[in-house]
């Protein structure tokens, strides 16, 4: 039986591991190659690097990190952050990445997913989605974010488009999403989510989760898969950094709408949270950063806990 995966994620900036709270207030947590090797030795099911280097000049450092990691870690390696072209993907795969995750660039140009999937296979193209509860819903007692930018100017700036271009982009996206086949009917006994009533709950945010695109996260996931994404890395911007647990409703809504694996991300604070994401959230994998980085739990403890909850995880001899 296929095991559920536990994926430690390393946010890498300028060649060092950092982890912020709600993507801010970054702390230095060490050398990515060393930390990856530690996780590999602990039996990580996969390791994820997210390059959050802001400047274009600093981008080369991640290739070096990936190359040095791949020479000594023999587990799947996913790399994301700042990828804008098929050439970027080729370079990362050559350096030793097994999968790459695309985020903002895919929102700007969804055809990048199709091109990359055709060139390298769907199995190595991960669509990363940063989702946040739609603002009017947040106003009703839901957690709010003072830092997010909504509205046309911010979106135009993030997309690098003027207003007519942005409107054209929005129209094209709408058209593509409207032509998606309906969500297949699943076994009703397995689902507690009425997908028909979920519309427009979570929006896709880009640029480090700061800018609202207005796109519906579930629809965007479905479009991404239709274009050739082989996996969805789903981060709840509301939960990220809170350590209060994954957004299970969001995770489940996406997991039940696509037929590729979904990695839950954002909010892990306890082992119970991991178990919830994999059961109630219907995720295939749970990604976590701080609970592993700061030694709160080891991967072995996580595996043991999940096993005690009846979740299939990899058996590893100590």
């Amino acid at each position: 039986m296929l095991a559920k995966r536990i994926i430690p994620c390393l946010d890498v900036k300028g060649g060092r591991v950092v982890k912020g709270v709600n993507f801010e207030g970054l702390k230095d947590a060490g050398d990515p190659v060393e930390i990856a090797a530690r996780y590999d030795a602990q039996g990580a099911d996969e390791i994820c690097f997210l390059d959050i280097t802001a400047s274009h000049e600093g981008r080369g450092t991640i290739l070096d990190v990936v190359e040095r990691t791949a020479a000594q870690c023999f587990c799947p390696l996913t790399v994301g952050g700042g990828i804008t072209s098929v050439e970027d993907i080729r370079r990362l795969l050559r350096a030793g990445a097994d999968k790459v995750s695309i985020n903002s660039a895919a929102v700007k140009d969804p055809d990048l997913i199709a091109q990359a999937s055709k060139a390298f296979g769907a199995q190595c193209i991960v669509l990363a989605i940063d989702a946040k509860l739609w603002a009017p819903l947040r106003a009703h007692g839901m957690p709010g974010h003072a830092d997010s930018e909504e509205g046309t100017p911010a979106l135009c700036k993030a997309l690098g488009m003027n207003v007519p271009e942005m409107l054209k982009w929005m129209g094209a996206m709408r058209k593509r999403m409207d032509t998606l086949p309906p969500v297949p009917t699943r076994d009703p006994t397995k689902s507690s989510v009425d997908l028909a009533h979920l519309g427009k709950r979570w929006h896709v945010f880009i640029h480090g989760g700061r800018v609202d695109t207005g796109l519906d996260a579930v629809e965007w996931a479905r479009l991404g898969v239709a274009l050739g994404a082989g996996e969805i890395l789903l981060t709840s911007m509301d939960a990220d950094g809170t350590k209060a647990g994954y957004d299970l409703k969001l995770t489940r809504a996406v997991a039940e709408s696509v037929d590729v694996p979904v990695i839950a991300s954002g909010g892990a604070g306890t082992l119970e949270h991991l178990a919830d994401a994999l059961t109630k959230g219907c995720a295939d994998a749970a990604l976590a950063a701080s609970i592993f980085h700061y030694g709160t739990y080891t991967l072995a403890q996580a595996r043991e806990f999940l096993k005690s909850r009846g979740i299939t995880v990899r058996e590893i001899e100590p």
Binding site: M1, L2, A3, K4, R5, D40, G43, D45, A70, A71, Q72, F74, C75, P76, L93, R94, G96, D98, F120, G121, A122, Q123, C124, P184, T185, R186, D187, K190, G230, E231, D259, V260, P261, D284, A285, R314, E315, I316
Partner: protein
């Protein structure tokens, strides 16, 4: 032992090479027929589409050198698409002949257990457990171990004795197969941490 990692133009060749280098093996990526002829053992790794990889081998004139190595009794090891190529054909590329080193074909995961209705996602991606059906030197110590799979198609050996290991994903499927000096695995040992590396080490010690 001079190991040729056959470069058939598919992706992910570097991982297999890195793993063999890590084990101290004398391995290199090779794509010239004479280099394959000169090698003591061949590894056909990688991911890709059956037809693309098979055509990649043809264009580089590597089909005969692989068949010759198999005939000559040299260890020939296939990983993922490499295992698929050993068979006579694949549903992934109908009408295209494989290497024909093993009898049988390659099939797509399909049916009521898969896709939107059944809930099992294709490709089968992640860690799954092995069940050995017979002893094989390359699979020593691997009973019940979890290894890393990424595939939508699986090998269906026509000769039951060719199967070496099974795994389960909606159905029982072949996870490793071989006959004589030809051996292949569906999963990625180069990505299966300790247990995967053990298979590669077993392969290096294998004297078929």
């Amino acid at each position: 032992m001079n190991i040729a990692i056959v470069n058939c133009g598919s992706g992910n060749l570097g991982s297999a090479l890195k793993a063999f280098v890590h084990l101290g093996a004398n391995a290199a990526l090779r794509d010239r027929p004479e280099d394959l002829d000169a090698a003591d053992a061949l590894v056909i790794p990688g991911q890709g589409q059956f037809g693309d990889v098979m055509n990649g081998l043809r264009q580089r004139n590597l089909v005969e050198p692989i068949r010759n190595a198999a005939k000559a009794g040299k260890p020939v090891f296939g990983i993922c698409i490499g295992l698929h190529l050993f068979f006579e054909g694949s549903e992934e590329s109908p009408g295209l002949a494989g290497l024909g080193l093993l009898k049988g074909s390659v099939r797509l995961f399909q049916g009521s257990a898969f896709g939107a209705g059944g809930g099992l996602k294709v490709p089968h991606m992640g860690w799954n457990a092995l069940k050995l059906t017979r002893e094989h030197p390359c699979m020593r110590g691997l009973e019940g171990k979890f290894v890393y799979f990424v595939h939508s198609y699986y090998a269906a050996p026509a000769q039951p004795d060719d199967a070496v290991a099974w795994s389960t994903y909606g159905q029982v499927f072949c996870a490793a197969a071989g006959t004589g000096n030809v051996f292949g695995v569906q999963f990625h040992p180069e990505k299966s941490q300790h247990d995967g590396i053990r298979i590669l080490r077993n392969f290096l010690e294998w004297k078929p």
